[in-house]
């Protein structure tokens, strides 16, 4: 997966490149609008991450010119301006998503993966599996090592999300938005409590813990690594 990052802020650009590279993406970094546009037109990318305010030409202009040339490359905008018209404008031009600065890297990574997953046939509609954990989506049943686990509807939804995106660190905001459709930052630790309860049902009594807390970032479904 190849990603183009156009970001003029030096540190931000470097960290985005490093972070995305370490997450397994091939990343090209352009420091201004012109360079970014040229790269986007000459190379093949799976996703472009554009800052809105750029020297040379703005992120909007890059997107406009890309779309004018029939380029369907998915675009995620980074904007410091929390303005409704900005969002509307970005989405009207055919942006796929946007993030308002300051954003957390975990959030960006999760959004990037969401966009890249689009258009691909979803893995399986009837069952999900990770290690010895099984999710029967049709009958809405969960079992681990053949042992039935009773979950509430929302716990089931939370586990389904973690399993569908196994190995990815999911930030709390993404979990709130995907599972409960709560698109605002709750000023409570409600996600932590929900995950803790789910964990007590899924991991308690088993040698290997599957739901991991990544401090400062979020949660991930992963077999605990031996320290």
């Amino acid at each position: 997966m190849k990603i183009l990052v156009v970001e003029d802020e030096h540190k931000t650009g470097d960290y985005l490149k490093q972070g995305l590279s370490e997450a397994g993406f091939v990343v090209d970094l352009a420091r201004d609008g012109q360079e970014g546009l040229q790269l986007a037109l000459s190379e093949h990318y799976d996703l472009a991450i554009l800052d809105v305010m750029l020297p040379g030409c703005t992120g909007w202009e890059i997107l406009e010119r890309l779309r004018a040339k029939g380029e369907t490359l998915p675009v995620l905008f980074l904007t410091a301006r929390d303005q409704v018209e900005d969002r509307v404008r970005g989405l009207e031009l055919g942006a796929d998503d946007y993030l308002v600065k300051p954003f957390s890297f975990a959030e960006l990574l999760a959004r990037v993966r969401t966009i890249l997953r689009r258009g691909r046939p979803s893995q399986d509609n009837s069952a999900l599996q990770y290690a010895d954990l099984e999710l029967d989506l049709l009958r809405r049943r969960v079992s681990r090592a053949g042992k039935r686990i009773d979950l509430t509807a929302k716990e089931f939804g939370l586990l389904e999300l973690l399993m569908r995106r196994q190995g990815e660190v999911l930030p709390r905001t993404l979990i709130a938005s995907q599972v409960w459709d709560m698109n605002f930052d709750s000023d409570t630790n409600v996600i932590d409590v929900a995950v803790r309860r789910l964990r007590s049902k899924v991991d308690e009594g088993f040698a290997v813990r599957l739901i991991q807390t990544v401090r400062g970032m979020g949660y991930v479904l992963e077999e605990a690594q031996e320290d």
Binding site: D82, Q83, V84, V100, P102, F103, S104, T152, K154, A176, W180, D181, M182, N183, F184, D185, S186, D187, T188, N189, V190, V193, A194, R197, R215, G216, M217
Partner: protein, 466 residues
Amino acid sequence: MRRPTTLTFRLTVMFTLVSAAVLLGLGVLVAMATNKHFAELDRSYLEDKLQLLERIVGESVGSDDLARRLHAVQNSHQGLFLRLERDGAPIFKSAVVDFPAELGSDLEQSQVSEWQTGPLSLRGMGREMEVRNPLLGPAFEGRRLRIDVAVDTGIHAHFMTELRLQLLLYLVLAMIVSAHLGWWVVRSGLAPLRIMKNRAKDVSAHKLDQRMPIEAVPVELADLAHSLNAMLDRLQADFQRLMEFSSDLAHELRTPISNLLTQTQVSLAHPRQVEMYREILASNAEEFQRLARMISDMLYLAKTENDIELPHPEKVDLGQEVRALFDFYDALADEKQLRLNLSGAASVWGDKLMVRRAIGNLLSNAIRHAQPGTDVTVAVDERDGEKRVCVSNLGPTIDAAHIPRLFDRFYRVDKSRMHSEAEGTGLGLAITRAIMLAHRGAVSVTSGHGKTEFCLVFPREAAAQG
């Protein structure tokens, strides 16, 4: 660049021009009336003289007597000129004067003609008669006699010239006087404006409490003063808010940033275990997330307070929103053994995300402060067209002293809990209030006897739009 003229100057000029026009009209009228009066005087004088001459012709004994009497008339009337013709031949004529041939040809109308002879301006009329006086002898008796008289109008003309000159002089004088009077009147008339101007001059960022004097200005200006005062009120409130906002912001950011800085610098001062670094970075990340959330909350607050229109107005089922939020906070409530109850149903016209966030903030507050094992109740109802969502919990009563400031940004009842893990950014209730104001509604709070209740009130018109 052309400088715009002052209002005083313009009004003075207009005032002067108007009085000049009125005076000029009056002067012209006076001159015309006088002239007409003189013409009338001359006509009756001339008619009078014609009658006198007719009588003389009728009464004279012999042509010598006639000539003598005509001379006497001529001599006794200064400025009067005579001419008598018998069958087209002159028999008597005053010197100096030429009479036009066609003079007084219309007897009936006894028309007055005007003409010039040398330096003289003349007015004259004439009449024809048949002589019925046998004493005058056959040379006259039964013959047609023509009598013309004329009078010098030089005296009148002189008077008129004098009159016009005086009127003009008066006009100029009156204009000068009225210009001064006008300036004075305008100045005193505009005095309230000057008062307002001076007040306005005193207004600055540090002295926004100055107001226009409403009692001191006339009714027409009171409206303007009212509007200006309202504008100043808004400016002052906004400015105050802005100042508080920046100082709050600095204050709120100072502590976490100085913590982060200290922690990072202390960590850097000596080499440490990798685990230790990871721990520090994770702790920093959490702190940064809180800061990032505070910033996005503040941006949201600013946007909500500044936007006039709701972003996506639609019909929002309050009960449905509350149930969704119950689902979300279920784990949290369960941990404190709280029961979440909903009663009633209603729909409002609003922005779904905003309404959800407003209720969510109240609900999370209620759960946070509820006594474990009690009920948290959300009551939705409609009263007189007003839709209300009331969230109540049992727990510590909020001191009455805190109530008025509860919705201020960054206001915390318990200062010591400022940065505890579960505590929010201190913006939740401010955001809730801003959301309700954006819906033209309100948020209220009552607290007493261990029960605290927050109510969102959606006004009737917002409901009527749905």
